[in-house]
Amino acid sequence: MARARKLSDQTVAVVLAFADAPATWRYGYDLCQLVGLKAGSMYPILMRLADRGLLESTWEREVPSGRPPRHLYRLTGPGRALAAELATVAARQVRPAGARSNPRPGPSWGRAT
C-alpha cells in the first residue's frame, strides 16, 4: 500500500464508510446518500480508489427483471488496511475531545487526493 499523497476529507469519509461493513458490496447511489456526497464528487473518488487498487468492483449477479445490473464496490486488502490506519488516526485526533470511537474525519485530514 502506498500513500504518496494525502487523502481529501471526502475520500477519507468514503473509505471509512466502506470500512463500517468491509465485507458488504455497496452501490454508488447508496454511498452518495450514506456519505452525503453528490455523484460528481463520489464517482471520481471511487475511480481514484479503484485506480490505486484500494477498491474492488463487480457487477450485480442476481438482477430483478426490468433494471440493469448495478456496479458494486468494496475495499480490497490494502483498502482495509488503509481504512484501519485512517480510523486509528481519526480516533487519536478526536479522543481528547471525548468524541465517538469511529468518527468521520474533520478538516485536519489534509488536501485533496
Binding site: 460528481g40 463520489m42 475511480m47 448495478r70 456496479h71
Partner: protein
C-alpha cells in the same frame, strides 16, 4: 381508415416537404448578407439586411432541426432502438458517458445502471448532472504537471508568434496568435483528459488533405496581402480571429478526431475525391467567369448551388450503399470541412488573379483602381466560412439520413413478398385442416 399515428406521420411528412422546399435556398442568404453587413460593421447594416440575416438564421435552425428529425427516423428505420424510452437525465448521461475513454467505459455503464435506481425527478437530475460532469472530466491521474507544462508551452508559442510573425509579416500577427493560441488551448484540454486505450486516428489521407487545406488557406491569405499590402485593411483583428477559429478547429479535428468520425474506411477517400472534384470545378468556373466578362455570377452560382447538393448526394449514396447512417455522416462531415477550406483558399487566390488580369474584384465583378479592395475577398470568405460549413454539414446529414432510410425501406419492400410467399406455402390446404 387511417389511425391517428398514421395521420400524424403523413402530416409530419408533408410538413417536412414544405419546410424542405422553403428552406433549401434560405441559408444561402447568409453567405451573401453576412459579409455584406459586416464589411463596415454590423452597426451600419440596414434594417432589410438585419431582416434577411434573421430569416437566414431561422432557416438554418429549421434545417438543422429537420436534419436531426430525419436522422432519428433513419436510425429507427435501420433497426436502432428508439431513444424516447429514456428521460432527459438518462439521455444526458448516455451522451456524456459516450465520451469516456475506453479505460473508463465500465464506469459509464455503472453510472447509467445506478441512475436507473434513482426515482424522483429532482434526484435523477442531480445524480445525472454529477455523473455527466465526471464522465466529461474524469480523474486525470497525475497529469497536472503535464497540463501545466503544455499551458506554459502554449503561452510561449503565442508570445513567440507575436514577435516572430509581427517581425516577418505584421498583417498576419493577430491571426497567427489566435491560431496558435486555439491549438494550444485544445492541447491543454486534451492532456487533462484521461488517455484512451487506443486513440482513434483520421488516417493518412485525411491528415494530409486536412493539413494541406489549412496550409492553403493561410498561404492564400498571406499571398494576397503580400501582393496588395493595402488589402491588409480587410484582415482586421476580429476577422483574423474568425478565420483562425475554423482553421484551428479543422487542424485539431484531423489530429485528434472523435471515434465517431474514424470508423468507416471509405469515408476519407470519398471525401477527398469529392473535395478535389469541387475544387477543380470552382477553379475552372472561376477562369471561365474571368474570360467571359468577369461579373462573378458564375463563381457565385457555383459556390451557392453546387457543393451543397453534391455533399447531399454523396452522403446519401454512402449511407445507402454502406447501409449505415454513420458512414454517410462521416462522408458529409469530412467533405464539408475539406471543401469549405478549399473554397476559401481558391477564392482568395483567384481574387488576386482576377485583379491582376483586368482589375476586377471577384466579390461582384466591379472594376476598380483601388487595390485595397482586393482584400474584401479575405473578409467575405472568412465571414462566409462558418455559415457555409454549417449549411454543407446540414445538407450532408440530411443526405445520410434519407439515404439510410431509403435503403432500409427498399430492403423491407423486397423482403415482404418473399415472407408472404413462405407463409402461404407453410399454411396447410383447407382439406387437411377440415379433416
Amino acid at each position: 381508415m387511417k389511425s391517428t399515428a398514421g395521420v400524424a406521420r403523413v402530416v409530419l411528412g408533408r410538413l417536412f416537404l414544405v419546410l424542405g422546399i422553403s428552406y433549401v435556398f434560405g441559408p444561402f442568404s447568409l453567405l451573401v448578407f453576412v459579409p455584406w453587413m459586416t464589411d463596415e460593421g454590423l452597426t451600419h447594416a440596414s434594417p432589410f439586411a438585419w431582416l434577411m440575416l434573421a430569416a437566414g438564421l431561422a432557416q438554418l435552425a429549421a434545417m438543422g432541426i429537420a436534419a436531426v428529425w430525419l436522422l432519428q427516423r433513419a436510425r429507427r428505420a435501420g433497426g436502432a432502438a428508439p431513444s424516447s424510452a429514456m428521460d432527459l437525465p438518462a439521455r444526458l448521461l448516455a451522451v456524456a458517458s459516450a465520451t469516456l475513454p475506453e479505460s473508463r467505459r465500465d464506469w459509464g455503464a455503472a453510472m447509467r445502471a445506478e441512475l436507473a435506481q434513482v426515482q424522483t425527478r429532482s434526484a435523477r437530475w442531480q445524480f445525472a448532472a454529477g455523473c455527466a460532469w465526471t464522465a466529461i472530466f474524469p480523474p486525470r491521474g497525475n497529469r497536472g504537471a503535464v497540463a501545466a507544462a503544455t499551458a506554459l508551452g502554449a503561452v510561449l508559442a503565442v508570445v513567440l508568434a507575436w514577435f516572430a510573425v509581427g517581425e516577418a509579416f505584421a498583417p498576419m500577427r493577430v491571426f497567427a496568435m489566435a491560431f496558435i493560441g486555439l491549438i494550444g488551448a485544445a492541447a491543454v484540454f486534451a492532456v487533462t483528459r484521461s488517455r484512451p486505450v487506443s486513440r482513434p486516428t483520421s488516417g493518412p489521407l485525411i491528415l494530409v488533405a486536412g493539413a494541406t487545406s489549412v496550409a492553403s488557406c493561410i498561404a492564400a491569405t498571406a499571398y494576397l496581402i503580400d501582393q496588395y499590402p493595402a488589402a491588409a485593411y480587410y484582415l482586421r483583428p476580429v476577422t483574423a480571429i474568425i478565420l483562425a477559429v475554423p482553421l484551428a478547429g479543422v487542424l485539431w479535428l484531423i489530429l485528434v478526431p472523435p471515434r465517431a468520425l474514424t470508423t468507416d474506411r471509405w469515408a476519407p477517400r470519398i471525401a477527398v475525391g469529392v473535395t478535389l472534384a469541387l475544387a477543380l470545378g470552382l477553379l475552372l468556373v472561376s477562369r471561365w467567369d474571368l474570360t467571359t466578362g468577369g461579373d462573378s455570377s458564375k463563381i457565385g452560382g457555383f459556390v451557392g448551388f453546387v457543393p451543397a447538393p453534391a455533399i447531399f448526394v454523396t452522403a446519401f449514396v454512402a449511407a445507402a450503399v454502406r447501409q449505415s447512417v454513420r458512414a454517410g455522416l462521416q462522408v458529409a462531415v469530412w467533405t464539408a470541412l475539406l471543401a469549405s477550406l478549399a473554397a476559401y483558399a481558391i477564392t482568395v487566390h483567384e481574387a488576386v488573379l482576377w485583379y491582376q488580369v483586368n482589375q476586377t474584384l471577384i466579390r461582384d465583378g466591379e472594376i476598380t483602381a483601388q487595390s485595397r479592395l482586393v482584400g474584401a475577398a479575405i473578409h467575405d470568405s472568412t465571414w462566409g466560412l462558418i455559415p457555409t460549413l454549417c449549411v454543407w454539414v446540414i445538407w450532408g446529414v440530411m443526405g445520410a439520413a434519407i439515404g439510410r432510410a431509403s435503403r432500409a425501406r427498399l430492403s423491407r419492400t423486397r423482403s415482404q413478398p418473399r415472407q408472404a410467399g413462405q407463409v402461404h406455402q407453410l399454411r396447410p390446404p383447407p382439406s387437411t385442416t377440415s379433416a
